[in-house]
Symmetry: D4
Subunit: 251 residues, 8 copies
């Protein structure tokens, strides 16, 4: 409901093209579909550049399917995160084209081909961080970005990272996924002039406190140009990287 | 020391243009100046797009001045953060052109004119968040970005934000600075398709725990496209925003 | 043992209808029933306006049934919270009229019709918050309040809330149920002049710390007129809202 | 900008009484005054029943005075919280009628006489809790409520509370202010059928963790009908109590 | 190995009654039995007034049985805490006289009759606290104390406690077991001149943080004469109460 | 209002010495003195065996003096804790006999001679723990207990403790005061069959977190017979030890 | 890639013995094997004195086997930690010589005989700490150290430790494994002049917070010469002890 | 009091060379000097290889001086940590040879020349970490170790560390001192086969939580061979490094 719209409606009213009641209806028209248990945000794509993404945790499979049906009239890819195998079983009955990425717990429904721009680099410290790294990488791909992966290059053997510096220089945005002490984000941040999105993971035990150690490490990075998302939030990092990557495209 | 350089040096050695000892020296040459108490990182500009920034907390005024002298041979702006009035008194004796931003605790030494690209929008929730917001805004300006400010638009009176939505749509990156419950970051994140850098501040009391409440709020944002820096880290947000903003420029 | 009762007993003594010893016994009679493992608080209705509510967690089904039997001589609705399906199976053998609300984990035994006053509005940020929101809404209904529901209007798409402001203005008390960052409570608090009861939920992951993030957000609300109950305590919010709503009735 | 207003404006436009440009202006008109460092929320009284309250912490005396000047055109009492003596010195130069409550750190500017309704009861556990208790009591009074005070009745000598039960029964809302272990809120909550607003204070040492112990106690109250505000937030409790108390008035 | 013993041995050596080698052996003799995985502390009864108690968590059933066999040569009751049903199944094969208290997770092997002194009073706030309360009560009984129980007298209905004040005055030591906000300990502490041992339990949810809320409440008790043991440590409270209760006996 | 008093009043009524209305007044008379800011608990001695103790933190010197005056009509020693030098200066103007223990921050006003029973042993781990240890020791002395002191016997040189085991065996109750890791409490608890009151202190730095490390150590003591009071709460430990020590006396 | 190597390569290039392209290859040659999901660090033995150790948590059995195959070309023992029975089942199909230590969750593949130097002493406080103690002991043994074990000598019966002081004096490095309050590390640290590696375990309940209590105890040790590894990190302690123990060997 | 000594004393008693009373005295003889407020541990040098070190925090200057006098009869260097300028002023009146290291807050009294063995390397991440790094370095020097320093080589410019790898290879033990995110410890740990002692510092702000972030990072190091001491505990790291370094010497 921006001023231009308001002005147009007002002028139509003044010109007698639009009845007061109809105009009122337009002001009131809901930009979401009300399913009772959910209000599907149908114009999120306009506001945010990508449709509402379905967070499956705490929702029944039936609720997920209904929200997908509400979203499916649009022309954009549909993405559901934290989806269990059980949710996917329900979804594929209705959307046989849905694809399930088990490790990353994502369901993706693709709508036609899409051009991709690049490049987002996803780096993981260890093999155990792969589920989160893949959630980030796949999210960025679904949102139309080319993605490179550089996995298992943690600081316990820093030469593995240093031997791949070309990948760092080639990327426009970098996602660093690391658990335990999460030191990789600072090291990468110190090597590049690109924005680094750091994702702490819950990999570790004892004083890792479910990812808190890595989270604090990343928030306190002595290297500049590092910002942080929630523990295990691969989706959020992929989304953020996509927004950043597309700034270059637009200009 | 990327492969291209190594190859060039090797070819000069083979061609007899470069002695082994000289080549060895080149491999070894230190890209920093060693002041004993500090190793000033002189090629950070090449790696990170901006020279080393001086974090003044815990350094003596003399140490700050010496690091500035080491950096001053370059052609880029010099930035010192968390600088007390006392530090500035020392600095201006040697660098009379140094400018002190008291509220933001920044010292800036400008080197000639610089073109700025835009636009970074800095939003604050309250008036008490201004020192951090200004640290972010000034950092982005020093690094060559146009900056807009939208202050005191917290969610207790959300119409103040909604009346300024045009500013949100015009920006390429948005920094949201908020203390207390820090809810503003999520609200802004839900309204735009731009990357949002959230900065929790230590404004508040009791269960704000020195900014932890706002930090957790921002890390758990239900809106996508929000990443977070350390509590009160206006500098880090400005730096990150600058890296993002310049992606558009390069392409 | 309210003053009216004391006066009545004294007058019966004076009138010779009641022996001194019998009167003394009445003064001493315990206002609870002692089941050994529990002392059922039979005059809580007099003190608090609603009978003792049974918290089922940590109690055996047999204990729950026995407490219900002790309470069932009264004329008020009986409410049991955090009741598992297994507890309900036991209860319905003795109380076939008992009704089980699975999502909200409540057992309700209604005693005749009851007039309801209104209106309590229950708002939830997301679909995953529904179990807690329903616990709040049903509690308020059982206690004699009219309840409106407005679900899935979180700040990631704040227009969903703004399009329903009439509901906010029509309510006398508002309950806001939100997990993740819990920002909705502040936004609602900033829009109305009604008391807002905020209920943080454990919906979320990572740095939501089982609801702590939302709890801190709500405690630090920059909007006034917001108070908070325990994480996932839908019952407590419904109870508090009922007490508030009835103030209007009494006067 | 509720539908009724929109409809009225639309009808005036249709009737030719209002030009399109003027109508547009009305839709856009800012309900706040922009001071640069602050956007004073001038229609908060309409939305929330009381004008914007000034939180002085982190604001300069000059900023506080300017915000007061912006608010002073209205007809309601002006309230500033967490005001130091130094702030008050500045304020009274411009507003000689301003009154300073040192213990409660409040500045009040009264506008004429005001009727008060009642009754809000403020209870404190100890003498050391008085600054917070007085902040609550004075806030409620400034907002037009009659206030009773019952101080130093903590559970270490519970007969002091039990001897004053009449005060509890006479109140419509009760505020309980307690530090250390904060047990008083549960005890009061168990005695009455009125809403209880619990305010933890930072009184204590060691494992009181600056009020966290009392905060957790109050959030976990085994008595129903208790909700909680931030540590030391006497203002918030007084505000909440006022909103609740006035529900009775309206009906 | 107290001085008296040393002196006696020395005198026997001097008198030629004891060989040097034998004396050396006595100095060296191990006051524990070494089972490899455990060193059973056989003279703990002498040092502490009760034999070593077996903490079963993290031990295999076989290990528990072997330690019991090592202890069984003594003449005192044997006590094993945190024992699962599975452990008990193993134990009763070897010790058919062993008795299992399922709710309290205790195994007791009694050795003949024992006189009991009194009186230890165990109070619980709610029915859900019974497992911990029973662990405390049974421990005290096994150690030779008379125990009274007063259950479900939490502060939500404080008259239930006040009606039983005679029990409080009759006890020599009082154990208060409470979860959620744990306020009962302070209230009891304020009513008596007896030492109160407070046991926080993990009963509760959300911000009870597994018993931390109750623990902090009890540590910050505004009533004097209250000390605290670990969360859910009914055994520790019973043990401590027994040591205290027996002081009276000895003198 | 103990039974003896009730009986006396009844007998005076029977004897015609006391009018019914006056008797009623006496039953109602408040067992505390209401100073407005404080309700001095004058019958705490009857309930708890020692008069109300004045916690000076957060009270003005004037308030402390007034409470002392209210208490001074009794015949028992008066004790004020956490008293600053400034408070003492006020007190001694009115009570020249008041004695100030600076290290322990206690003010004591003695009323005649008092017999002492023994023996409470106060052990400290280090020299830096002395202020808390002295607060405990002096409290116990003021309450009529003989006190032994054994200071600076921490586990870094455990032979210092082992060489003083006779003191441990001679005591009836033991207070262990320790900061840093607080291991001394467990070691002492393992050596004796007496109740041990453990007092964590805030001595230490870094991960001692103001005494939390020692507090947790003591709560998790693997030795039985140890209970814990708040960090730095020497007073509470001395009070608890006195209650325990006197159990022996009474019997 | 140390200077000596660079110089040698350069001289070979100058002498025409090495082509530029070959030299470039040598500079680039990757000292790890890239398995896609993992980059096996094949020269870690050269850098760190022991090959890469496989952390099995969060890895699939297939991934573990592939990394083992990559490492098996070397001549050193292979070690995998936190290995479940399921992982071992996979491993022994390919490596029948692999040995599984169930309690310690370690898989070891030995390559021929190996001389051991000594001595590392592993001490545990209780029987429940054995899994972690064994992980430490076995790790040290696999890395070529003689290991002594002294188990169940916690401070609740400190004579068990004191009777074994000879073992303490004979060791060159000591590992102390303790849960609950973890006091044993300080006591041992105070008895010896050897480095002590302290390992907190998650043994305990309630306020042990999964090992945090023991961790803090050990970090705050009042005895010098104690350093700490992560909770339950027996492997890390064994590894550290081995590095320390071998310093003596080299000289 | 090892068995050999006991045997010798016993044989002297048997042989009549030693009276029973004298022998008893020898068993009892105190290996510490009792100053009342302190028990100076005079045989700590025998047990731990270095005399008792004086922790000055919380001690009066007079107490520090008296402990020094008690220690000064020995032939070893005397070390006092956390010493303020004020303490030093007192000390130098009695010990004019005492040397004060202000940045490291150490007082050192040297006793003649001492041979040093090497080499301990102390690395700091930043200039602000120098006080702690110097405390570590000086402690190691006082205890007879050669020390190398490598300062300001944090991971924001990791080439500064990589250019100094020779120093890493030359050391026998390495101390890494780092604040903020503390990532340097893991990176160093991954480069060497020497034991690394990690010291987190309180350098940083916001979510560094006074050094907790660095502490957690170091405890969770993905590189093996890293153990950790308390926040800001440079002394402890230097002490530990000395114990380790001397293992090589002895063999």
């Amino acid at each position: 409901m921006n001023p231009k719209n308001i002005k147009r409606i007002l002028e139509e009213v003044k010109a007698g093209k639009l009845e007061v009641e109809s105009a009122l209806e337009q002001f009131k028209s809901l930009p979401y579909e009300d399913l009772g248990f959910a209000k599907v945000d149908l114009h999120r794509h306009l506001r945010q550049g990508f449709p509402e993404v379905i967070y499956c945790a705490g929702k029944t499979p039936e609720q997920v399917v209904k929200i997908m049906q509400s979203l499916s009239s649009g022309e954009h890819n549909i993405l559901a995160t934290r989806a269990s195998q059980a949710v996917y079983e329900h979804v594929k009955l209705i959307f046989p084209e849905a694809c399930y990425h088990e490790q990353a717990r994502l369901i993706v429904i693709k709508k036609g081909e899409q051009k991709s721009i690049g490049c987002v680099l996803v780096i993981s410290a260890g093999t155990s961080d792969l589920p989160v790294a893949e959630e980030a990488a796949l999210t960025a791909e679904v949102m139309g970005n080319k993605v490179e992966r550089l996995y298992d290059v943690g600081v316990a053997g820093i030469h593995r990272l240093l031997h791949n510096q070309q990948l760092l220089y080639a990327a426009k945005v970098i996602i660093v996924v690391a658990g335990m002490e999460g030191a990789l984000a600072s090291v990468v941040g110190g090597l590049v002039d690109k924005p680094v999105i750091a994702v702490p993971t819950s990999v570790g035990y004892g004083a890792s406190f479910g990812g808190v150690a890595a989270l604090l490490t990343m928030l306190n990075s002595c290297a500049s140009g590092v910002s942080v998302v929630n523990i295990d939030n691969g989706f959020g990092a992929g989304y953020m990287a996509s927004l950043i990557n597309k700034i270059g495209e637009v200009d």
